[in-house]
């Protein structure tokens, strides 16, 4: 199975962590991004994620490969959710197993930052008080 996955069903951090088992690795760092009940001061009721899967997976794998190369970590995995998410549900999960904590922290941080910047996934926020909006999706200078 690919180390970067798109999941239509709920992400289970416990199962993801189990897939990082590695007797040579002393440090495991995981990051989980969850749906918050607010964003920039506005109440949020739920989120919708959509992705361009073929490119999301190849670009996601590229990010993981860069993390392995750059930080020399043993294992890196990432799974991103799509579809409708309720408050508190995991939207993205990143896990790294490495020899020491320094590189495990750095690699996990690198992966989530790059995934957010480069992988073609979009989110739409739903509010109690107005129409849903695609977040950060207004191109600079756009109509």
């Amino acid at each position: 199975m690919s180390d970067f996955r798109i999941s239509r069903s709920e992400i289970e951090p416990a199962e993801e962590i189990a897939a990082l088992e590695d007797a040579a690795s002393g440090a495991v760092v995981s990051f989980c991004g969850r749906v918050r009940n607010h964003n920039e001061g506005r109440a949020v009721t739920r989120l919708e994620y959509e992705c361009y899967e073929e490119l999301a997976v190849s670009e996601g794998e590229r990010v993981l490969g860069e993390a392995r190369e750059k930080f020399g970590v043993a294992k890196v995995r990432c799974v991103h959710r799509t579809g409708d998410l309720a408050i508190g549900e995991p939207a993205v999960w990143v896990g790294v197993a490495a020899g020491h904590r320094e590189e495990a922290f750095s690699a996990a941080r690198f992966v989530i930052d790059e995934v957010k910047k480069r992988v073609p996934i979009w989110k739409r926020e739903h509010y109690p008080d107005g129409p849903a909006e695609w977040i950060n999706a207004a191109p600079a200078g756009g109509a």
Binding site: L55, S58, R118, P120, I121, W122, N136, P139, G142
Partner: protein, 78 residues
Amino acid sequence: MRVRVDYFAMLRDRAGREHETLETRAATPRELYRELAPRRDLPAQTGLRVAVNDEFQAWDWRLADGDRVVFIPPVAGG
């Protein structure tokens, strides 16, 4: 030349469709976007990226018959 165009997220909302297959004389994604923008109510191209056959490409990439083109609005994963 026939190409297939897929729309995601806010571009899909604007275009009112998920994809379309069309005859075009556009030689590059840039020309294709210019052609489609007024017809599909797409925003200015600034800030968008483009993929051809599931790989990111430059806006001046040479299109070929049968290509799949996807215009990519600013991403917002995580």
